[in-house]
Amino acid sequence: MRADWRPVAGALIALAVWEAVPRAGLVSSTDLPPVSSVFRVLVREAGTGEYWSAIGDTVWAWLLGLLIAAAAAIGLGFALALVPAVRAFTTSSVEFLRPIPSVALIPLAVIVYGTGLGSTLLLVVYAAFWQIYVQVLAGVADVDPVADETARSFRFGRWGRIRHVTWPSALPYVLTGVRLGAAVALILAVTAELVIGAPGLGQQIAVARSGTEPALVYALVFTTGVLGVLVNVGVRTGERRLLCWHASVRREVPV
């Protein structure tokens, strides 16, 4: 297949706008430095071990948190969706706990885990969990009744129905949930580091912010964004493989 240059073109256009806005004087270049000077700082930082270990810390907290959140959300989501009694008993608590913003848990996190990885993980897991969980519930509810009846008529066991009908039907939702959760997990990882001071990119941003070099702040923020893009590329690749049968993917095969 031919390489798709369009995402690159889109990105270049966005970068050009970023370069142009401060240069045209729409905002002061100390408030929003042009992308070229941000890149210069980025190149400088990329030569330091501190930068890479911060990325490492953030990615580790993110990945671990996302895995825990995804496993818990998918497991619980399926269990609750398939055992109506459990769902009936948990709805009220879920509806109450879900909207509690994870940032409000920062004090709790600090009390329980201090300023280390644990605090970051608590916030990351809490936030990403709900994102995935809500998608799982919606996906599980979106099974084609005819497909489900087919499985029942062949007396698929409970596990068989989950494995062969519910899971594939819910998969598009789950993957959207994972993409949402991955982004939220990254946001929370960085936010936790930023607000609590746990090691990672967020902490670097906090330090840079109380310093006097705006381009460095933007360079670190840019790094966060690039991480987000990479995460998405990863999930998308998985999605294209897992959902080759789905209307959203198969229609793109030109006929």
């Binding site: 600090v110 300023t115 607000v195 109380s210 006097t212």
Partner: protein
Amino acid sequence: GCGGSSGPDVKTQGGNAQLTVGTIPIVDVAPIYLGKQKGFFTKRHIDLTLKTAAGGAAIVPSVMSGEYQVGFSNFTSLLLARDKGLPLTVVANGVSSTGVQGKDFGAIVVGKGSPAQTAKDLAGKRVAVNTLKNIGDTSVRASVRKAGGNPGSIKFVELPFPDMPAALAGGRVDAEFIVEPQLSQVLAAGARVLTSTFVDVAPNLSVAGWFVNEKLLKSDKGLVARFVEAIRESNAYADAHPDEVRQILSQYTKISADLAPKLTLPKWPAEINRTSVATVARLATDDKVLSKTPDLTALYAS
């Protein structure tokens, strides 16, 4: 470790006590970095681990839980914590104002074209402070009162220090309570100092201090004493060697090398100016930041 009351047991390794200290990446804590570098702590059998937290609010719970043994915080926050019954004790002076009007590390500034001439003119204006119900707004009110104005009509807005320069330049606020290094930044951009507010509050105001959990004080008085000695030596060294202070900033902050020499450094006297802390406490009580007049003797270790 869960719980604010679990004992802060200090680990030792090779005969040295392992102390984890929570700091903030600002100029104020330069002496401890310098002191660590100079070996003031190791020679007293203390191995320091310095952790930067995002702010005092994150440090207090960590000292309570025993994750940090020592923390850095301004006195208003510490008074607030004691006001609510947290068993924290101040053991050493952290940072003090220079006491020189117009030449302090913190100030109230206004934008280039502002008509305001004295703090009195801030009445009815929008003033940014880094945290509300803390030393910032209390000091600003004190300055306004001192200049003969009525602080009641000031509209305070909470804004992190790093966001202040842009807000002032953009005219989003009329004045700001600001500290270094942002103070030098806004001055370079044309802002004007209205008054050095710490100087208005009290002569040689003690702004922040080093604190520990009362438990540690009870369980290991000797260790705390050694730490205090080391801090005093560090403070004195920092006061005497401003150039080295400016140098060490690059180790834990991102203050650029061209700005560091221009900063107004604070003072690091050995002793806490207890009178100034009492003034701060009275102002905070008047402003209803504190619920009752604090018992200041309980605040200090000795």
